[in-house]
């Protein structure tokens, strides 16, 4: 099992909250390593998140819900 953290996008504010703006992979769907699974956003800056490993991906947060940087947003089994 691999957890995928919300990336550290704001070094100055390590506790900054962001959101998953878009999920590109559905809950329970298979992903390949390196595939873009989500677009996340802190303030108005957005970034793609890639799957570190291949497997079945589970979303841990819904689109638009506040998440702290570093907290897990997905799990890949």
């Amino acid at each position: 099992m691999t957890e995928v953290p919300f990336p550290m996008m704001s070094e100055e504010e390590p506790d900054a909250e962001g959101v998953v703006g878009t999920w590109f992979v559905n809950h329970g769907e298979t992903v390949a390593a390196g595939q873009v699974i989500a677009e996340v956003q802190v303030d108005k800056v957005s970034q793609d998140v890639e799957a570190p490993v291949g497997g079945v991906m589970y979303q841990l947060v819904a689109e638009g819900v506040g998440v702290r940087q570093g907290d897990p947003v997905a799990r890949i089994d």
Binding site: V19, G21, T22, F24, V25, E29, T30, V31, A32, Q35, V36, E39, Q41, K44, S46, G54, G55, V56, D77
Partner: protein, 340 residues
């Protein structure tokens, strides 16, 4: 756990546009991009995302705020053999550069007796729904489709956005490519899941001038385009529960207009609603009515219906803006009235 299922690559409409441009830039060194904030910023609606990093400042050129200047420069480059993709940030800004668009880009091929081609793509953001008011919310595709000499394409989803972009760049005629901000799949805007979809990684084309049957149905035909296709598909899914079968035609191109697909569908259902986010009078809705009337008005079991923006500037206040836009609720009401 390992799975044998194949991963599905989904991307936004914005990314699909950029991917189409990137594929053509890799294939053909004559293709380049020019416009306001198309470089490091990637286009304010994401249409040129990541192009600057790959192709650099020589082929992805940020311009000053002078639409007449850079559209004119694009036309000059095109007649000299390059294939520019020029972004006009909002179609609403056409007022300052219309002479370049309609008197030059559109007419040089005619006026040169066919000796000079203008293989140029002019892309621009259209549409409202996010309180950007009267000067940043218009669609205006009817205005450009009315003027001869320009092909006009209007994608509604990621697959068509990529395929139409590649077709537009490869076309030797000037093509106006109008993308709806609300269908780009941007994280900072209200978005329909239909703006994020599977798109093949490789190059492919969607033919200009060919409508798509976005959903098959038997009771009512909705003829529409752009973001209104997404709304119409949502409505069609809802109405299944009420026993109404809606066919949705996504025009995808206005010039050339695929009248055959429209007429075939209307002949089948006998009931038609045209949904258009552009202004009502002298536009697409009236044009489709004329196409049907010229062909065979007896195809219609019920009088022709249209839903478009009443002839007012798009309001800023959300409640007023929603009152003039072709929303799902209004589309639903029109379909039900056709079935009553």
């Amino acid at each position: 756990m390992t799975s044998t299922e194949t991963p599905t690559r989904r991307i936004t409409t914005a990314k699909a546009m950029a991917e189409g441009i990137a594929l053509e830039m890799r294939r053909d060194p004559a293709v380049f991009v020019m416009g306001e904030d198309v470089g490091a910023y990637g286009g304010i609606f994401g249409s040129t995302t990541d192009l600057f990093a790959e192709f650099g400042a020589d082929r992805v050129i940020d311009t000053p705020i002078s639409e007449t200047g850079f559209i004119g420069a694009g036309i000059g480059a095109a007649v000299e053999g390059l294939r520019p993709v020029v972004e006009l940030m909002f179609i609403d800004f056409y007022g300052v550069c219309m002479d370049q668009i309609t008197n030059h880009m559109a007419k040089i091929h005619y006026e040169s007796g066919g000796n000079v081609t203008v293989p140029m793509v002019l892309m621009a953001a259209t549409g409202g729904g996010y309180s950007d008011a009267a000067q940043h919310s218009q669609c205006l595709w009817g205005t450009f489709a009315h003027l001869p000499g320009i092909k006009v394409v209007v994608p509604s989803n990621p697959y068509d956005a990529k395929g139409l972009m590649i077709s537009a760049i490869q076309d030797d005629n000037p093509v106006l490519y109008l993308f709806h901000k609300g269908a780009q799949g941007l994280v900072w805007m209200e978005k329909n899941p239909r703006s994020i979809a599977h798109v093949p990684e490789e190059s492919f084309t969607v033919p200009i001038g060919q409508a798509a049957i976005a959903r098959q149905g038997t009771d009512v035909t909705i003829v529409t385009l752009s973001l209104s296709v997404q709304h119409s598909l949502d409505v069609a899914e809802q109405l299944v529960g009420e026993g109404i079968s809606v066919e949705v035609i996504d025009l995808r191109s206005l010039v050339p207009l695929d009248t055959e697909t429209v007429l075939t569908s209307v002949a089948k259902t006998g009931r038609v609603l045209v949904v258009d986010e552009d202004y009502r009078s002298f536009g697409l809705t009236g044009e489709i009515a004329a196409v049907i009337a010229e062909h065979d008005p007896t195809m219609l079991k019920k009088p022709f219906r249209r839903l478009a923006v009443p002839d007012v500037p798009i309001p800023y206040a959300r409640v007023l803006e929603q009152a003039v836009l072709p929303t799902r609720d209004k589309i639903t009401d029109h379909v039900k009235e056709l079935m009553s």
